[in-house]
Structure formats: structure tokens, C-alpha cells
């Protein structure tokens, strides 16, 4: 989503206001800027900075028997213990998150790129396709997840199809509850819902490619596929890399698919849901605390942050010089 923002940085935007003003005029400007920014910055401090700073402190806190807070490293010890206990689900969460990352990067991104390219090349009926491909974004997670749930439920259309194809489906338990297939279904759902905000941004980026470039490559004899691989993809590379970075940043945070499809199958959990389910349990008064999930979150932020920043720098280094 902030793909635009990063691209903006890579390109040199024109500096608009000229600085040739008297002191009083500058004074008015400063006053205006301060008045406008006061509340937004206050809001940012109160509802972003404070809670996120607090989440670091919370990681080192715990409640004692009488309900008093004390500082401890016990949460991290618990984390370490759960890491070695397969029943806690933490190991599954980490492995599944990594699988999820590889699958979405290897399949979802190329698939969405291909769909966008088809529309860009004005495949027959592209106007109708464009509207249809917005459906996942329009319906929202609770609706699409339930559509998927009933498709793969026992006796549902997709399940029936898979059984007819002779696949070993455990019809007694159902694909979403069977520990062997539950996470596969989460992956399938994510692939099915691959279009979405990325799709909007890819089509937008392709539309910005100047016609002359496409025409020139056509004159040079580049066909449909060659244009895709050698012209379009290199030209929208900055968009691809920025979306990759955002995918990476959201990796440990994503929980939606698991929460809506397989919330209670520990073999199918992911890091984001592991943390958020503990939070929700606490919010619903189901015991537990907010300090342990905060500590787990801190661990994964510390792992994720350098990876995100390094890959951002690395990819930006490679996409330099792409200007059109």
C-alpha cells in the first residue's frame, strides 16, 4: 500500500514552493503548519508510540498471585520452553509462517502479476474481469472465508470434487479440521484470495508505462510473453519489490486466514494468530495474560525488523535506475 510512497522517494519529485518570502509570511506558514500538525502528531504519540513502547515493557512484566505487576524475564523463558514443546503449537506457528511466506512469494505474486498483465493487454472481456477481480476486496475476510469454508466442508462442492478425483479426503473430520490438510486449506484460501490490494497496485503501475515503450518493443519484434518478462516486469520492478517488502513486514502479523478457517487446529496456526488468539482469549476473560503474547511479539519484531530493513535496502539498490 505504501508502494507509492517508496516509489515517490525513488523518483525526484519537483520541489514546489519557492523560498523567497518575508519573515512575516514565513511566520504565517509556520503557524499554519504547526496548527495542522498538532493533533495528528499528538494522536500518533498517544495511539502509536505509547502502546508500541509499552509492548516492549510488557514483554518483561508479569502478574503475581495478588495481581501486582513485577519485572521478570519469565515470559522469554516460557517462550523458550514452548519452542521445545510441539504441543504448544509455537513450532507449528513458526514453520507454517515460513511455508506461507515461500508459497505466497513463489505463487501469489507471479499469479497476480500475470492476471494484471492479461488485463493490461486487454484480453477479451477485460472490463468485466477487472470488476470480478475486485470481489475478494469488496466482500471482506469474514465473507470470503465462509464461502471457502462451505466450499470445502463435508459434502461441499470442492470437497465433492476432490473426492471424485480420488484424493484421500477424510470426509469424517473434514478438510479444515483434519490436522493433515488444515494448513493446506489455509494456503489454498490465500492463493484464491491472492488478488486484492496488490492487484490494484500492479494494474496501476502497468498503466503508467508509457505507450511508446510498449510500441517500440513491439516494433523490435517482442511478443506477448517476451514483453511481459523483458519489458513490463523490469519497468514495474519498484512496485514489485516494495510490495515484497510489505509482504515481509506483514508476515509475522497476518492472522486472518487462520482465525477465520482453522482457529483451533494447532497444526495449522501461524505466528500472528498464535499471538492474537492469546490476546482474544484474555479479552474474552478466558484466562491467560497479555504479557506473554507481548513478549512473543517482541521476539518476532526483533527477528523481523533487520530482515525487512536489509531486504528493503538490498532491493532498492537493485531497482535503481528504473525511471520512466
Amino acid at each position: 500500500m505504501t508502494a507509492i510512497a517508496l516509489q515517490e522517494k525513488q523518483k525526484t519529485a519537483p520541489r514546489s514552493p519557492k523560498k523567497k518570502r518575508g519573515l512575516s509570511r514565513r511566520g504565517h506558514e509556520i503557524l499554519f503548519v504547526c496548527l495542522v500538525l498538532f493533533l495528528p502528531l499528538l494522536q500518533f504519540v498517544l495511539f502509536w508510540l505509547v502502546p508500541n513502547f509499552d509492548s516492549i515493557i510488557m514483554g518483561f512484566q508479569k502478574l503475581d498471585g495478588e495481581g501486582n505487576l513485577y519485572f521478570t524475564a519469565q515470559n522469554f523463558v516460557d517462550f523458550w520452553k514452548n519452542l521445545q514443546d510441539i504441543e504448544s503449537g509455537l513450532t507449528y506457528a513458526i514453520v507454517n509462517t515460513l511455508i506461507f511466506f515461500v508459497v505466497t512469494t513463489l505463487f501469489n505474486t507471479p499469479f497476480v502479476l500475470f492476471l494484471s498483465y492479461g488485463l493490461y493487454k486487454k484480453v477479451p472481456g477485460y472490463k468485466i474481469f477487472r470488476v470480478i477481480f475486485y470481489i475478494p476486496a469488496i466482500l471482506g475476510g469474514t465473507v470470503t472465508a465462509n464461502l471457502f469454508r462451505y466450499m470445502v466442508n463435508t459434502g461441499g462442492p470442492l470437497e465433492t470434487l476432490l473426492v471424485k478425483m480420488g484424493l484421500p479426503v477424510n470426509t469424517q473430520i473434514g478438510l479444515l479440521s483434519d490436522p493433515k490438510t488444515a494448513f493446506l486449506m489455509v494456503l489454498l484460501y490465500s492463493l484464491w484470495m491472492a488478488v486484492g490490494s496488490n492487484f490494484i497496485l500492479f494494474t496501476g503501475a502497468m498503466q503508467r508505462i508509457p505507450n511508446e515503450i510498449m510500441e517500440a518493443s513491439e516494433v523490435d519484434g517482442a511478443g506477448f510473453w517476451r514483453q511481459f518478462v523483458q519489458v513490463v516486469i523490469p519497468l514495474i520492478w519498484p512496485t514489485i519489490t516494495t510490495l515484497f517488502v510489505f509482504g515481509l513486514a506483514g508476515l509475522f502479523c497476518s492472522y486472518g486466514a487462520v482465525m477465520l478457517l482453522t482457529p483451533r487446529v494447532k497444526e495449522a496456526t501461524m505466528v500472528g494468530w498464535y499471538i492474537n488468539s492469546l490476546t482474544i482469549d484474555t479479552a474474552n476473560g478466558g484466562g491467560g495474560n497479555l504479557y506473554y503474547p507481548a513478549a512473543v511479539g517482541l521476539v518476532f519484531t526483533l527477528i523481523g525488523l533487520p530482515i525487512v530493513l536489509l531486504s528493503k535496502r538490498f532491493l532498492e539498490h537493485f531497482s535503481k535506475g528504473v525511471e520512466y
Partner: protein, 326 residues
């Protein structure tokens, strides 16, 4: 679409227009090379399969919502023998929960049962409130950062980028503790307002590039004529990004309508339609069977689908292309 073409050309009938368009499409098709035709056909087939996979479940849910529970359990594929439109009126009155709202507090009630139609009302006002607040805050912020050069402007911009990419894995527990526990401003449509005045989110970046692309010359002439900075923003600059603003309004509304986590944790007493679906999804006893649950799903997507179909042209032109252009 067709109506617009007709409006442009009164003399041609709809049929003539259509055959003309078909002829143009045929010529365009013939002009493409053999290999390109094959590639386009392959692409078309893949796109078609994917599009059908998106449409079929919707269609399936829609016609199964008209069955009786027994018919659905016996046969998930056949056509409903006699359409049960009563599923819809019943769905409207499904009990979603028992809540105590501000209104209950004012009139001194201990609480009341929440039916599905009330979650629809909650969805409407919560969506309008959240989206308006975000645009109200993001637009001036983006304008000032894009158009005024002062100490810290680029720092604030980098900060906005940074908070988008930093993976804050543990922020939900901390946010819950801060908003619900420490401040105690959750579950109240008035006190929750500050939480929703998000200035540095997704809209900020879209509006930032929209403002950035505007020439400063208009503002300069306004300043010479004695307008102050606020007037310039409201009367000269803001009207120029109105198409982007309206596209953002629709896109954000659709996203907020589908959000279930925020009402679930922070506005428990005001369940929205998305949250209702989440809480009903495993409680088919309360929904009176699967077909009635399907009618809840259909009811919940009608508003967003209508808004999208009515405004999709605006979104496509102003958001997908224009809004992201520098």
C-alpha cells in the same frame, strides 16, 4: 456503459452501436499476430477459470440461501424446490447477542438483545465515522508534508514510511491493554474517536502523492491576493484532489465494512455485520441452519457490492491510475 455511448451518439440505435463495436473488436483481433492471439487465448482461459472460481461460490451461496435446512442437508447442489424467502426476513431478526449501549445507559436499561438489523446500522455509522475521521486527519497532514518545506517535514515523511514497514508483531496485546485497560475509552462511540483519527495510514500516502503533483502556482496567486493558508488549502488545493478523496472514501469504506477485529476487541457492544458473521459462523443453532446463515452473508454483501458497482468507474480512473500517479 452502453447508455453512455448512446448518450454520446443519439442517432445510432443500441443494436447498431453494438455491431459496430463487435466489428471494431474483430478488426483489432485480426491485427494481432498469430502467436499473440494464442497467448491472449491462453490468458483468457486462465482468467476465466479464476473469475468463475470467484463467482461460483457466491452464486452457490445465493441459491442455497433459499433452501430449507433439510433440503440443504440432503442436497447441496440442486435448485431450491420452493424458494424460502422467509429465510431473509428471519435472518434480519436473528439474535446476535445481548449488549449494553450508550442508549441503554441513557434510558437506564440494563441492556438489550441485538438483532442482525441493528448490526447493519452499526456497520453504517461506524464505517462512515471511521472513514471520515481518517480522511479529515490524513488530508491536511498529507497536504502540509507535501507542500510546505520546514524542518522535520522529511523526517515526518520517513517516519510515516517507517511505521508502515516495521513489523509490530506484539502490538495487539499492547493496544488492547492501553485502549481498553488503561484509558478505558473502548465500547463508546464518542470516546473511541481519538483512536480512529489516524493521520499516517494508507490514505496519507495516496493523498501525499496527489497533493505533490499539484502545481503551487495557484496557491501563490491566492497568497498574493491576500488569502490565508487555510483558505488556500480549503478553497484551492482540496477541491483539486476531490476525485482522489472520493475514490479513497469508497475504498476505505469497503475495507472498514469488512473489518471484524476492531469491533470485536474495541467496540464489543456495537457489533457490526462482519463481526456478526464471525460470531454466527459456528453457531448454526442460533441461525436456524446453514441456509439462513447464507442469507445473512448475502444481506451483508449487498451494501458493499452496490456501492462498489455504482462507483467502480470513479475508483478505476481516479484511484488505480490517477491517484497513484506522480
Amino acid at each position: 456503459m452502453a447508455g453512455q455511448n448512446l448518450a454520446l451518439n443519439h442517432r445510432q440505435s443500441f443494436g447498431e452501436k453494438l455491431s459496430f463495436k463487435a466489428e471494431m473488436a474483430r478488426r483489432h483481433w485480426a491485427r494481432r499476430g498469430k502467436n499473440e492471439q494464442i497467448a491472449l487465448l491462453i490468458t483468457f482461459v486462465i482468467l476465466l477459470i479464476y473469475a468463475l472460481s470467484l463467482l461460483y461460490p457466491l452464486f452457490w451461496v445465493a441459491y442455497n440461501s433459499l433452501k430449507t435446512s433439510r433440503q440443504f442437508n440432503n442436497d447441496q447442489f440442486g435448485w431450491p424446490s420452493s424458494p424460502q424467502w422467509s429465510n431473509y426476513s428471519a435472518a434480519w431478526n436473528i439474535e446476535v447477542g445481548y449488549k449494553k449501549t450508550i442508549l441503554d445507559q441513557i434510558i437506564g436499561r440494563s441492556g438489550h438483545k441485538v438483532y442482525l438489523w441493528e448490526t447493519f446500522i452499526n456497520s453504517v455509522w461506524m464505517t462512515l465515522l471511521r472513514v471520515s475521521l481518517e480522511l479529515l486527519f490524513a488530508a491536511p497532514t498529507a497536504y502540509v508534508i507535501a507542500k510546505y518545506h520546514f524542518k522535520g517535514s522529511s523526517f515526518i515523511y520517513s517516519l510515516a514510511v517507517f511505521i508502515q514497514i516495521i513489523p509490530l508483531v506484539g502490538s495487539l496485546p499492547a493496544n488492547y491493554q492501553w485502549i481498553v485497560g488503561t484509558l478505558g475509552i473502548a465500547d463508546n462511540p464518542f470516546t473511541i474517536i481519538p483512536v480512529w483519527c489516524v493521520s499516517f495510514g494508507f490514505s496519507f500516502f495516496i493523498l501525499y502523492s496527489a497533493f505533490k503533483s499539484l502545481p503551487w502556482a495557484y496557491a501563490e496567486s491566492g497568497l498574493i491576493e491576500g488569502a490565508n493558508h487555510l483558505q488556500i488549502f480549503l478553497k484551492i488545493m482540496l477541491p483539486q484532489v476531490l476525485p482522489v478523496l472520493s475514490a479513497l472514501f469508497v475504498v476505505n469504506s469497503i475495507a472498514v465494512w469488512g473489518d471484524y477485529m476492531t469491533p470485536y476487541l474495541f467496540m464489543k457492544d456495537y457489533p457490526t455485520m462482519s463481526l456478526a458473521i464471525y460470531s454466527l459462523q459456528e453457531d448454526s443453532e442460533r441461525t436456524g441452519g446453514v441456509p439462513m446463515f447464507f442469507s445473512v452473508i448475502v444481506l451483508s454483501i449487498i451494501p458493499t457490492l452496490t456501492v462498489f458497482l455504482l462507483s467502480q468507474k470513479t475508483i478505476m480512473s481516479n484511484y488505480a491510475a490517477g491517484g497513484l500517479k506522480e
